[in-house]
């Protein structure tokens, strides 16, 4: 499934025949980087606040509370009211929100309504599983995606190019669970090469860990490979038609150097920003693979807790994934800044 944004915000063309840029004294390099990072960090704070507000309101709107579960068979209205008061659910929404946010900052995500375990502990138990699968999927996705993308751009119009484009559009059409199950049939049932369920922590048995996350990582990476290949191909094709490529050819630079030093860096821009959009889907998509492979991941816990109406756990997992997504997009923006310093300076 691809929700890649079709068009990024192209910086608006400069206003009516404004005075062209007169030569400005050169600012020290580090100052620009810091200013750029500062502005990025500044933006992610309100984004974090909005995202967590949405998460909180979702929990609040559900109107669920732990009373039924805890009250047991003595579930009389008074008992339920007392339990709601214990959890502070009778306070006005604003105070509940502030209290919840204060908790977030302190790392206290509240307690699961079903088994009383602190939410943060539950999440930390399962975070390594989700991160290892998502991480492996990202690595496989990036490596295979760029290989296919570059190949398709270099041999544009060839059979390889057509094959890559066909694969990309087909992969985008496959729901993730179909991909996962097909991979299981191939690698687990037919070839009997890799296990089809469960999880072995890296610390316990690295080889076993790699074998067990192999299929889920492949299943999750299919979307990334498809999108990255397509994005990189279009980026490279348009970059190859730029004037500075002609300039480089005229200077006698070798084609390989032109491609990897000059063109790839500019073509990688849209591909990288697409990757940033992929991260939330990677963590979200993990729900499917985690439930198919019965891996104790964060995604599956969030989904099951949501179904059980265990609001604090759901909110906790959403907040943690929001933090991960923001960290990733910050990282990718920094990488973009390094690859294309010009964009920073121009803004």
């Amino acid at each position: 499934m691809t929700i890649a944004a079709q068009a990024d915000d192209p910086a608006g063309t400069p206003p009516l025949s404004a005075e062209p840029r007169v030569f400005r004294p050169n600012k020290p390099k580090s100052a620009t980087h810091l200013r750029f990072l500062g502005s990025l960090a500044l933006i992610s704070i309100p984004v974090f606040l909005f995202a967590t507000l949405i998460t909180f309101l979702l929990g609040y709107a559900s109107g669920l509370d732990p009373a039924a579960g805890i009250a047991g068979d003595a579930a009389t209205p008074e008992v339920i009211a007392r339990i709601r008061a214990d959890f502070g659910l009778d306070r006005p929404v604003a105070i509940q929100y502030l209290d919840w946010m204060a908790g977030l900052v302190r790392g206290d995500f509240g307690v699961s309504w079903f088994n009383g375990v602190p939410v943060l502990q539950l999440i930390l138990q399962r975070l390594p599983v989700s991160l290892s699968v998502a991480g492996a999927a990202l690595v496989v996705g990036i490596v295979m995606g760029s290989l296919l993308g570059i190949g398709a751009a270099i041999w544009r119009g060839s059979a390889f190019d057509r094959a890559v484009t066909a694969f990309a559009s087909l992969a985008a059409a496959l729901p993730p669970f179909v991909v996962a199950i097909v991979l299981i049939l191939i690698f687990s049932l037919w070839l009997n090469l890799l296990p089809a369920a469960g999880y072995i922590p890296f610390s316990e048995d690295p080889a076993g860990w790699l074998r067990i996350i192999a299929i889920p990582a492949m299943a999750l990476s299919v979307d990334i490979i498809a999108d990255l290949a397509r994005q990189l191909r279009t980026g490279l094709v348009s970059a190859l038609s730029e004037n500075y490529v002609t300039g480089a050819v005229v200077r006698g630079l070798s084609p390989r150097r032109i491609l990897f030093v000059h063109v790839l860096r500019n073509a990688a821009g849209p591909a990288l920003s697409m990757l940033a959009l992929r991260v939330p889907m990677l963590i979200g998509g993990a729900v499917v693979t985690e439930s198919i492979f019965t891996m104790p991941g964060m995604g599956k816990m969030a989904a099951d807790s949501a179904l059980r109406g265990d609001v604090p756990v759901v909110q906790g997992t959403l907040v943690v994934s929001i933090v991960i997504v923001l960290a990733c997009s910050l990282l990718i923006n920094i990488l973009l800044g390094v690859l294309q310093p010009a964009t920073q300076r121009r803004d």
């Binding site: 009516l16 025949s17 404004a18 005075e19 062209p20 840029r21 007169v22 030569f23 400005r24 004294p25 050169n26 390099k29 270099i154 041999w155 544009r156 119009g157 060839s158 190859l240 038609s241 730029e242 004037n243 500075y244 490529v245 002609t246 300039g247 480089a248 050819v249 005229v250 200077r251 006698g252 630079l253 070798s254 084609p255 150097r257 032109i258 491609l259 030093v261 000059h262 860096r265 500019n266 690859l339 294309q340 310093p341 010009a342 300076r345 121009r346």
Partner: protein
């Protein structure tokens, strides 16, 4: 039909072997013989072109856009865009036929033997890598130099092309350089490999007049100093005449005339060449009969309350002052020329009048009423009454590409509303007629019109509500010779017949000199000189005006290729 030639031309098919070496090297460094270039459908874009370039010589290729002059150069460099290929003919360079070379054949030629600089220089530098690094990269690609030596060589080259502060420029990115500076960097890169042949394809077209002169001087000097053979391509005869001994005139893919520049200018054989020379001469300075007597007694008209008066206008862009105290006036039926280089602030004056820029101090009065203070509703009402209208420089970008021109022209009427569709169409037809456009063009899309027609449509849009003042921003600089004259005559008739005052800004003194009544010369936000056009051109008082006049190139038929003034460092 072979696969589209990919610029990088990665070897995935058997490479074409270079043919056995041609007959012994002839005296000419480059010999193009019966060269034809065809597109996929076989249409000949360049047909049977042949010319020779003697070692150390300079040859200019002149022609309109679409004459095939750039394609010929691209063929010489082996850079034909995908879809075009050399149908027949040979390009011999020191015994090697460049037309048949494969990728491996080109190794050791580009950057070392042949090199080139192009129009729009900044786009030929990688936007994400500092320009200095790209110069070092070019140096190390063509010669065995370690990093340190290459850096020193790079600084030397940058200084040699006139970039005094080489250390600063080294670390800058392409978009941070002005056009002139970027071209100098490209020239430094081009000569870094010590090439024998340098091709300049419209290298100075996008530059300001003064910067253009400096770059031409630089090229000429480097040519003599490094024993370079130069091919200079341009649509501007004056520029070519300035720097090239020989000239070749191309039209519709063929050479219609060739020879020594001086002779061709004196006795053009082909009628097309003759019209080229004629058009160029007509509206440069020579076009105005210099009769001192007549200027002296031009009586100053009596000054009633001026239609529009600007007093002590100051504006800044961030921390940089753009306008530093402007005082101007304009009366009914008068055309005021505003001339100055890019960055001199002339556009900011127009934008202040239109309320698009809020100046720091100063007053702008229209018929005595201060329009600077207008805001929100009042500003919108003033604009709806369309006393002052604006004709944009680039008609293609200022007309909605998806709307027929009738809709754009009638837009002001639709905004004000209150009239029937029939009345609206009449007013649009009348406006079209006023600018000399056939009413049948009304439902055409902008892209289906010629440059001149589009420019007239923009002016028609401004006229539809009978403005008092028309502001024109570089209305003719993008037009070819023929249309340029028509538009200038139209402007003159609007002033004389309908009394529409016009402020006409341009960086091209030629077109201003032709039709304006008074002219003001702007330099770095200050009016250095103003007055009746003829008088000012006849004897400019301010040194900057004098330098501006001098830099307008004359079609000089006397001396051959001598640079008019010594090369001035930036």
């Amino acid at each position: 039909m072979n696969r589209p030639a990919n610029i990088l031309d990665f070897p995935q098919r058997a490479a074409r072997r270079a043919p056995p070496s041609a007959p012994p090297a002839e005296p000419a460094l480059l010999c193009v013989d019966n060269l034809s270039i065809a597109d996929r459908s076989g249409r000949m874009l360049v047909d049977g072109v042949a010319f020779e370039v003697p070692r150390g010589g300079t040859i200019g290729i002149v022609g309109e856009s679409g004459s095939g002059k750039s394609l010929t150069c691209r063929a010489i460099l082996g850079l034909l865009p995908p879809g075009l290929n050399v149908a027949s003919g040979t390009i011999h360079y020191r015994g090697v036929d460049l037309a048949q070379l494969d990728r491996r054949g080109w190794r050791g030629l580009r950057g070392i033997e042949l090199s080139a600089v192009f129009q729009d220089p900044a786009s030929y530098l990688n936007p994400s890598i500092p320009v200095g690094k790209q110069l070092v990269e070019a140096l190390r690609a063509t010669q065995r130099l370690d990093k340190g030596a290459a850096r020193q060589r790079a600084f030397a080259l940058l200084r040699r092309v006139g970039l005094a502060d080489a250390e600063a420029v080294f670390h800058q990115y392409a978009f941070e350089l002005s056009g002139g500076m970027a071209q100098r960097v490209l020239i430094a890169i081009a000569i870094s490999g010590g090439p024998r042949l340098l091709i300049a394809d419209e290298a100075t077209t996008a530059l300001d007049v003064t910067v253009q002169a400096e770059v031409l001087a630089l090229l000429d000097e480097l040519r003599r100093e490094q024993d370079l053979t130069l091919i200079f391509v341009s649509h501007d005869l004056a520029v070519v005449s300035e720097i090239c001994e020989h000239v070749v005139v191309m039209r519709d893919g063929a050479i219609i005339e060739a020879g020594k520049t001086a002779e061709v200018l004196k006795k053009p054989a082909h009628p097309y060449t003759r019209s080229l020379i004629e058009n160029h001469r007509r509206y440069t300075i020579d076009a105005i009969p210099l009769d001192d007597a007549e200027i002296a007694e031009a009586p100053p008209e009596p000054r009633s309350t001026p239609l529009l008066s600007i007093s002590d206008l100051r504006a800044a862009y961030g921390d940089r002052a753009v306008l530093d105290g402007i005082d101007l006036e304009i009366d009914r039926g008068e055309i005021l020329g505003l001339i100055g280089e890019t960055g001199s602030g002339k556009t900011t004056i127009l934008r202040s009048i239109l309320g698009l820029v809020t100046p720091e101090t100063g007053e702008i009065r229209f018929r005595g009423e201060d329009i600077l203070a207008l805001r929100g509703g009042a500003l919108r009402a003033f604009r709806r009454s369309s006393h002052i209208q604006y004709a944009f420089q680039d008609p293609l970008r200022s007309l909605d590409p998806d709307l027929p021109i009738a809709a754009s022209i009638g837009e002001a009427l639709d905004i004000r509303g209150g009239i029937t569709a029939a009345q609206r169409d009449d007013r649009v037809a009348e406006a079209l007629r006023a600018v000399g456009l056939d009413e049948g063009l009304a439902d055409r899309l902008p892209r289906d019109l010629s440059g001149g027609q589009r420019q007239r449509a923009v002016i028609a849009r401004a006229l539809v509500l009978d403005p008092a003042i028309l502001l024109l921003d570089e209305p003719v600089s993008a037009l070819d010779a023929v249309n340029r004259i028509h538009v200038l005559e139209l402007m003159r008739s609007l002033a004389d017949d309908r009394g529409i005052a016009q402020i006409f800004i341009s960086h091209d003194l030629g077109s201003i000199a032709g039709i304006t009544d008074r002219v003001a010369v702007l330099h770095r936000g200050r009016i250095v000189e103003a007055g009746p056009t003829e008088a000012l051109i006849a004897n400019p008082t301010h040194p900057y005006t004098r330098r501006l006049l001098a830099s307008v190139l004359h079609l000089d038929d006397g001396t051959s290729g001598q640079p008019r003034h010594a090369f001035i460092g930036a």
